[in-house]
Structures are given as C-alpha cells and as structure tokens.
Symmetry: C2
C-alpha cells in the first residue's frame, strides 16, 4: 500500500512529518511517497538521521501557506506539495493522501482534483474525537458552512460507514447536534434535517444529540452543518485547553502541589490517555473518490504517524467503496457544487 | 427595593429559593415578594426555620412545569407562580423578577406580559460566564434560534450596557462568535452581522471572536444568534462538566490520590472560585421594560441569592433605562414579534 504524504503541511513540517512517516513505514509496513522540495526533504532526513530509504519523492516547488486563498491550490499553487499530492492521488500513483496543511485548501483540492464520489453532494471533514465513553465522529467540522438537509443525511451515512468499518462500532448511533432532544427544537434547517435523518433506513438514527451531552459520548456519530460542527469542535478544544492549562498551573504552584501531582500521576496519565486526540490520527475528508486525511496542523511525529495508520485503515476497510455502494444516487444530479 | 421571586421555579423549589431569598433580604436589604402557593411557602419556611417575616406573598394556584408548552404562561397557566410574578412586575408591584423556572416560558411571558422596550426587536437571554480572564457575557443564549443581523446589533448594545453598568467594565470589548477571525469567515448571516456591528458606533466592536478563544476571555461580550449561543453555552457546560468529573474521579482513586488532593487543595479552590458560575447569579433577559433574571434551574440557595443581587444591581444601575435611552429607535416599527 502506498501512502502519499505532504511533507510541507503543518506547523512542524518537514521534520515531524518525515519522522512520523518513517515510523509509519516501519510500524505498519506501508510505502511512502513524499511530495515537496526533494532537496529539502533529503537534507532534513539526513540531518536528523531519519531513514527514508525506499521512499519515493515527488518534487513540488511550492507550499500552500495557511493564509493562502484556498482556491490557489487549483492553478497558481498547483505545484505545491499539497497540489502535487492530490494530483498523484487522482492519477492513482498512491492509495491515500495525508496532509497537515490548510484544511480549506485540502477541501477545495480534494473536491476538484480528487473529486467527489458520484452521488455525493458535498465532501465533509469528519473529526474523530475523544468523549468520556470513547471516540466519536463529528461530521461536518467545517468544510461546508452552509448546508442543505440532504447533505446532512449523506454525512450521517458516511460517518456511520467510517465508524463501523474503521473503528469497528456495530450500528453506530447517529445523533443530530441540537439545542435539545425534542424533535421540535432548533432552527427550521435542523428540524428538516431531523425529518430526513429519521427516514434514512441505512443508519441508526437516535434523534437529537443535546449539545451538552456530546462530550459525554451521547452518540458515535454527531451530524451537523459545517458552521455548527466547527463551533462544537472549537468549543471542545478551547474549553479543554483552558481547563487543562489551569490544572497544570495548579500542580506547578509550589513544592506541595508538585508532590501532589506525583501522587495522582497514574490517574492523570489514564485520563490523558482517554482524552488524547492524537491517538485517532486526523480528520478524514469523506465523500472523495480516494482517502484523504487531514492531520492536525500542530501534528508531531506520533500524531502524523497515526494519521497515516488511519489512511491505511481507510484503504484496507474499503471506506470509499462502501460509501459509493451504500449511497442513494437517485438524486445525484442535483445540488452539485 | 422590591424583588419579586418565583418560589416554585427550578429543581430545588421552594426550599432553596426561600433560603436564598431570605439570605438576600438580610444581606442586601431588599424586600421580597414571593409568588406561589402561600400555604406551601409558609409551611416550607417554618419547617426549615427560614425567616420570611416581612416578605409579601402573592398567591398562585399553578406551577409552570419544565415540559409545559411555553405559551401556556399567557393564558392557561397565567395563575402560575411565574405568571403571577410577571403580572406583578408589569403592574409595577416590584422592581425586578427572578425565576429559576422554564427559560422558554420566561422569554414568552417576559415578551408578552412585561413587554419589550420600545424599539427592541427581540429580548435576549444573556448569560454571564467565567473565562480564564474573568467574566464575559454571552448574548443570545437561546431566546431566538433564528435571528436577523439587526437583532445581533441590538444584543451587542444591550450586552455592552450590562457589562459596563453592572460589572463595571469600561468600553466592553464586543466580539461576534465565529469560526475564524477574518471578516470573510462564517455564513452570510454572520458576515452581514459583522458589517452591521462594525457600523455600530455605540459599541467597542473588536471583530470576530474565534470560538476556540471564548473560554480564554477573548471578549467581554460575545454576540451570537440564539442557536449558536446555546451551542456555545452547552458545549462549555458539557466539556467542563465531563473534565471536572474525570479530575474528581482521579483524585478519589486511592489513598495516594486523596493525599495528592490535599496537597493541591489551595490551588484547586482558587481554580474552582474562578470557574464558579454561581457567583454571577443568573442570566438577565435583556430588552424588557423591567429586569427579569433567569436563575439556573439547578440553583441552590447561594446561586439564587446571587441572582437576586444581580436583579438589585440591574435596578440600581438603571440597565433598562440606559438600554431604552441608548437604542436607535428609528426602525422601531419593523420586525415586531
């Protein structure tokens, strides 16, 4: 299996990307194709003793920057590490693509270079996140700030397939993110989405997922429009970050509190393990004709390695083929981007 | 000053309500008018040695239940503790009304019994919440799931007035809840709201408040439509609750972890104090002709006492009059509910 890796995406590229990819090659037995400036890749690998023997490199003269207009990926910056990677994936040179670069550019590039599965109205960013009761998927996390209810019905199907195939959850519980459990709650858009999800036989729809209960693991797949999904994702990250920062400060306060930390270290590590989003890899872009994984921008080697494992899992479990086979395509023609 | 108190709202009514009100009377020197079944109020007070001497009671034969259709407050359940309280406030029998009962019913009752200030398009639920850098106001927290940009401009003005007058914050920084800081981010609704807020001279608009930074205290007033605001509020509560629950579990694990807790107790209490939402009281309904405070449904005596202090602060600082004086009323006629 060949995984194409954007060597110049994310805050710690190329060093952590190369490290993570080399580890993944060793650990999971995948082949790696790097995209990016080949001289810089080789120099970084040799300076840091990273073994990239046997890894192919597809040269790319540019890098998509975080502040770049996402559409640049299609023409002006097509020769970027991300653009070259997406082109290679579309041409079948590899089985999946992993990048820690700009999410928006990856969505645009994925949609127009790799292209959507026939019948898929929109591709979605699907984050696997920790909850009190294990991982859940939040879909869409921000690819589509404006949605139609029919998009959400497809997000629910794609999310269910992923959680079933990749995480092995039987009949994943699908909940619609809403401000209450009653079906009368929310905006007209949310209520219409509810009605559509309820009709969808292929999923295990459990109704509205009260937002307050999401972190407690109320559902395996949380469906939302990209604006709401992004708000949920960022509130989760923001509140958790703030609280954890305060807890750390509390333990570092004085010699007694540091001793206190030693006494709870075991439980703390267990808790950290449960909440460690890096273990799940990145966020798959679901709905494309080949697996594309968005690794977190702040990915270190371990997080990036896990994103590659996730790409491998997507391939092995035929997530794309299952989505393509399972979707209702009777209304494929309408609503194309 | 006379504060009207719904003695039968919330999970711990009437006991905690009576206790909190009696404490507020003593501590803040306010007069209390209870609404609800007078026999039950007197019996509960005497059984629990709560001194309600000098408190007036307005009899009410009914109670608005959480599952009641909010509109019932207007006719079928007008003789409820909440309905009688709102009628008493509208008739000028008291200066403010505090209830821990159904938020939706309070919004409907507030709007149609107490009524909106002339020129106000919608009243809003405005929660004062803790952040890493002190309290901030989130407005609207759910009164209006669908909004027009003009509503948000008024929410921003009302929130600024409250934070300035009641919490003494000079030129409160107003941020629009959004999924990025750039003004091109978000839905068309959010972008239109941005443009309108930018034109609003009476507020200190600092642009988009990236949702990830809200818990860090990025602004003093966070403006959002009621759906998004409610998602923010509930993600905050849900994530904080889940994390704190896990931290507690960690400390209770064994004898060493319990000892560890003792060593960090000081820092823990400091942190708890910072994050204690009960200190801020409840959520004012802004935009009505008299102060109405929604206390948290789970309010204990202390939280309810603080909600009464908040009502007193609203009166003393003339929040209603300031809102009425400060608003642009040229478009008062349009968009009435």
């Amino acid at each position: 299996m060949k995984i194409i890796v954007d060597a110049f995406g994310g805050d710690h590229a190329p060093l952590e990307i190369l490290k993570g990819a080399a580890d993944a090659k060793k650990e999971y037995g995948v082949d790696i194709i790097f995209t990016g400036d080949s001289e810089k890749i080789r120099a970084c690998a040799s300076e840091n003793n990273i073994d990239i023997t046997g890894c192919e490199i597809l040269d790319a003269s540019q890098v998509m920057q975080m502040e770049d207009e996402p559409n640049l990926i299609l023409k002006v910056k097509r020769d970027s590490s991300m653009g070259v990677g997406l082109d290679a994936l579309a041409a079948g040179k590899g089985d999946a693509f992993v990048s820690a670069g700009s999410t928006a550019a990856l969505v645009v590039g994925g949609t127009f270079i790799v292209k959507r599965i026939k019948g898929i109205k929109r591709c979605a960013i699907a984050s696997v996140m920790p909850s009190d009761k294990g991982p859940f998927m939040l879909i869409d996390c921000g690819a589509n700030v404006e949605c139609k209810p029919a998009f959400l019905a497809q997000f629910a199907q794609m999310g269910s397939i992923y959680m079933g195939k990749v995480l092995g959850i039987g009949r994943p519980r699908v909940g619609l993110a809403n401000i209450g459990v009653e079906e009368t709650k929310g905006t007209p858009f949310v209520r219409e989405s509810y009605a559509l999800l309820q009709e969808e036989r292929s999923i295990n729809f459990i109704g509205n997922a009260e937002v307050r209960d999401i972190a407690n693991g109320v559902a395996d797949v949380i469906v939302a429009d990209g604006f709401t999904g992004n708000v949920i994702l960022k509130m989760y990250e923001g509140v958790a970050g703030m609280l954890v920062g305060n807890i750390k400060k509390m333990f570092k306060k004085n010699i007694f509190s540091m001793l206190g930390y030693l006494l709870v270290k075991g439980g703390m590590n267990e808790f950290k393990g449960k909440m460690d989003y890096k273990q799940y890899g990145g966020a798959p872009l679901l709905g494309l004709t080949a697996p594309v994984i968005k690794a977190h921008g702040s990915s270190d080697a371990r997080a990036f390695k896990n994103a590659i494992r996730q790409a491998k899992d997507c391939c092995e479990n035929q997530v794309v083929a299952t989505i393509a086979a399972g979707l209702h395509t009777d209304d494929a023609a309408e609503d194309c981007m």
